[in-house]
Amino acid sequence: MSGTDAPVLVLDGPPGAGKTSLLARILPALGDGCLWFTEPNARLAAGLRAPVHPSPAGHSLWFLRHELDKARAMTALSSDPATELLISDRNHLGALAYCWATRAEDSLPYHTAVDFYTRRIAPALPAQVMTVILLVSPGQSLNRRGNVAERPRWQQWFDERLLERLRTFYTDVAPTLCPSPPLIIDTDGASPDTVLAQVAALLSGAGLSDSAECLLTSTTPATRPRLASHFADAYEALGGLEALGHPFSEPLDHRGTTVQLCQLGALHRDLSGQTRLWDLLADDPTRAA
C-alpha cells in the first residue's frame, strides 16, 4: 500500500435508514473520482458467484463470501491513481447484523459469522476504511418505505421486531466490528442535508476536503427518477423490479460511460454502448480503473 491509496467509505445500517438515498446524492457530486460497490444482491450474482446453497445459513455464507471478495477488490482498487474514494453500500456489518438479529432455526450462528469476519474479511480490507452507520427507528423505517413490502421477497424487511433488533445491533454491537470507530448518524428527524453534511465533515477530516466541498454543493436528486430508455432491456433481462428495485438516480456520466443506480443494483453502459450490471467484482477493466 502507498500513502496515496484511496480510502473506503462504507454506508451501513438497517433498511430504510437512507443508505441508497445518500449514495444517490454522493455519486453525482463526486463524479469520476470515486468508484462504488452497490448493495450485495445474491439474485444478481452470476457464474461461480451465484449462490447454490438453499438454506438461510447458506445465504449468510454467500454474503460473507461476497464481502471477502469485495474486501480484496477494494484493496486492489484503492491503489488506482484515478480513484480518490471507494464507496461501499453495506459491508460485512449487513451480514453480521442479519445473523445477530434473525431468529430462524436454520440461520448461521452469529459467532460463526464473526469468526469469518475476523479471520478472513478483516485481514483483507484496505488500510483506511471509514464507516458511516445510519440509524433509523423501526417506525421511521417502515414509514419511509411505505409500510408494506412491494414484493413478497422483501417482506421480512418489514418485520418490526427484526427492524428493532437490527437497530440494537447497529447501535450496540456494530461499532466493535468496524476497522476504525464509525460515524453514527441517527437519521430520525434528520434532513438529508444534515446527514450529508456529517459525511462531508468525515471526508474533510480524512483529508478529502475537495470531495467534502463537492458534497456540500450537491443538489437534491429527483425523488423517483425514470429508468433511462437505453437501460430498459438490461433492466428487464436482469429481473426487473423484483431483482433491481426502482431506479434511484438519474443516469450519471462516469469516466466516459453511463451508470444508473437502482435500489438493489446499478446498470452500466460501457464505451461500446453495451449495457449490463454494474459490478466491480466482475473484473471489467473499463470500470475498474
Partner: protein
C-alpha cells in the same frame, strides 16, 4: 415469525425405515405440520405406521392419499411417478433424494413444478447441517480436500427402526429405475453408488466448491468401491471415496483445507443424534453438539411453503440438479477396475 396459518397437511407415500425412523416422528410432533394420510404398497405396514404415529387415514392409492393434502412426502425407493402425480394434482412435493437416477427426468420434474408454481423440495439435508456450515465458514475457499463414506451400519440401523415382523425394503423390491441412455453396466453401478450412498458427500462438495468438475472415476468389479477425483475451477483437487466396509463400521468424513485452516467433519452415524457430529478445525479444535439438520430442513420447508423463505435463495431442487449433474458426469467417465488375477498379483508382488 408467529404462525398465522393452519398446519400444512401432509400425505406420506412409503412407510420404510426413513418414514418410521426420521420423517414421521418429526412431522407428527411438529406443530407446523399435520400428517393427514399415508400409504404403502404393504397395507399391513401402512396400518402399523398409522397406528404408531396416529395418522387418521390410510390410503389405498396415490389419488386417494393426495386428497386434501398440501404436500406429498415421497419416501419410497422410486420417486418419479409419485412426484409427477402430486404435481399434476396441484400438490407441493417433498421427495427423498435423489429425484431420480435419470437427470433428464429430474430436470423435467423440476421444470414441471416450476411451471405449476409448486414446490419440489428434495431431502438434501446436508445443506441444512450446522456442522457443515461451520466447516464452510472456517474454510470458505478450500484449496482441496477429501470426502469419504464407508457405511457398514445402514442395514442394521434401518432394521431397528421398523416394527417387528417387517423386513427392510430394498431397491431390488422396487420397479426398475430408468437411467440415462448410453451408460455401461459399471457406469450404472457408479451412478447408483454416487446417488444412493454418496449423495450427502456430493451435496457437501457442491456447497464447498460449486464449480468442481469430474476428473476421474473408478469402480471396482463388484460395484462396491468407488474412487473419484474432482477438480475445482482454480485447479483445486478433491478426492471422493465411497466404499464397502464390514458390518458395524461407519465413516462419513469430509476434510477441507486451505493455506491457513483445515476443517474436518465426522458425521454422526445414520439415524443417530446429530449432536454426535464432530467438527475439528486447526483454530478451534474439536466441537460437537451441533443442531439437527433434519429439523432445520423441515423448518426451511415450512418457511418456503409460507413464502417466508428468502426468494433469492436457490431451491433445494436447484441444488439437487447440481448434485445429479455431478453424479452423472462422474458416472459417465467411470472406468472399470479390472478383476485381480493370480498373474497380476504375482506381477505386483
Amino acid at each position: 415469525m408467529t404462525r398465522t396459518h393452519r398446519p400444512w397437511r401432509l400425505a406420506v407415500a412409503g412407510c420404510g425405515a426413513a418414514a418410521f425412523g426420521l420423517h414421521l416422528p418429526h412431522l407428527t410432533s411438529n406443530p407446523a405440520f399435520d400428517v393427514v394420510a399415508l400409504t404403502d404398497r404393504d397395507p399391513a405396514r401402512a396400518r402399523a405406521a398409522a397406528q404408531r404415529f396416529t395418522v387418521p387415514h390410510i390410503a389405498a392409492s396415490t389419488p386417494e392419499v393426495l386428497e386434501g393434502a398440501d404436500m406429498l412426502v415421497v419416501l419410497t425407493g422410486v420417486h418419479e411417478e409419485l412426484i409427477d402425480a402430486a404435481l399434476s394434482a396441484g400438490a407441493h412435493v417433498f421427495t427423498e433424494k435423489p429425484v431420480s437416477l435419470d437427470l433428464a427426468r429430474s430436470r423435467a420434474l423440476v421444470e414441471q413444478a416450476r411451471t405449476a408454481g409448486l414446490l419440489l423440495e428434495v431431502g438434501g439435508m446436508r445443506a441444512h447441517d450446522p456442522a457443515l456450515h461451520a466447516a464452510l465458514a472456517a474454510v470458505p475457499e478450500p484449496a482441496g480436500g477429501w470426502l469419504v463414506k464407508a457405511d457398514g451400519l445402514d442395514e442394521t440401523a434401518r432394521q431397528r427402526l421398523l416394527p417387528d415382523g417387517f423386513a427392510l425394503y430394498t431397491f431390488a423390491d422396487d420397479p426398475p429405475q430408468p437411467v440415462p441412455p448410453g451408460l455401461e453396466g459399471h457406469q450404472v453401478a457408479a451412478l447408483q453408488i454416487l446417488l444412493w450412498q454418496g449423495y450427502h458427500l456430493l451435496t457437501a462438495l457442491v456447497l464447498a466448491a460449486a464449480g468442481a468438475a469430474p476428473a476421474a472415476c473408478v469402480v471396482d468389479p463388484v460395484g462396491q468401491w468407488l474412487h473419484a477425483t474432482l477438480r475445482g475451477p482454480a485447479g483445486q483437487l478433491f478426492t471422493l471415496i465411497i466404499g464397502a466396509t464390514p458390518a458395524g463400521v461407519f465413516h462419513e468424513q469430509i476434510h477441507l483445507a486451505d493455506a491457513v485452516e483445515a476443517a474436518t467433519v465426522d458425521f454422526a452415524r445414520p439415524y443417530e443424534t446429530a449432536a454426535a457430529t464432530r467438527l475439528t478445525t486447526s483454530a478451534d479444535g474439536e466441537r460437537s453438539g451441533f443442531g439437527d439438520p433434519f429439523a432445520a430442513m423441515w423448518a426451511a420447508i415450512d418457511e418456503r411453503l409460507s413464502a417466508q423463505h428468502p426468494a433469492d435463495l436457490p431451491t433445494s431442487a436447484d441444488l439437487a440438479l447440481r448434485v445429479e449433474e455431478l453424479a452423472l458426469g462422474l458416472a459417465t467417465m467411470t472406468t472399470f477396475c479390472p478383476t485381480h488375477t493370480k498373474d497380476t498379483d504375482h506381477v505386483r508382488n
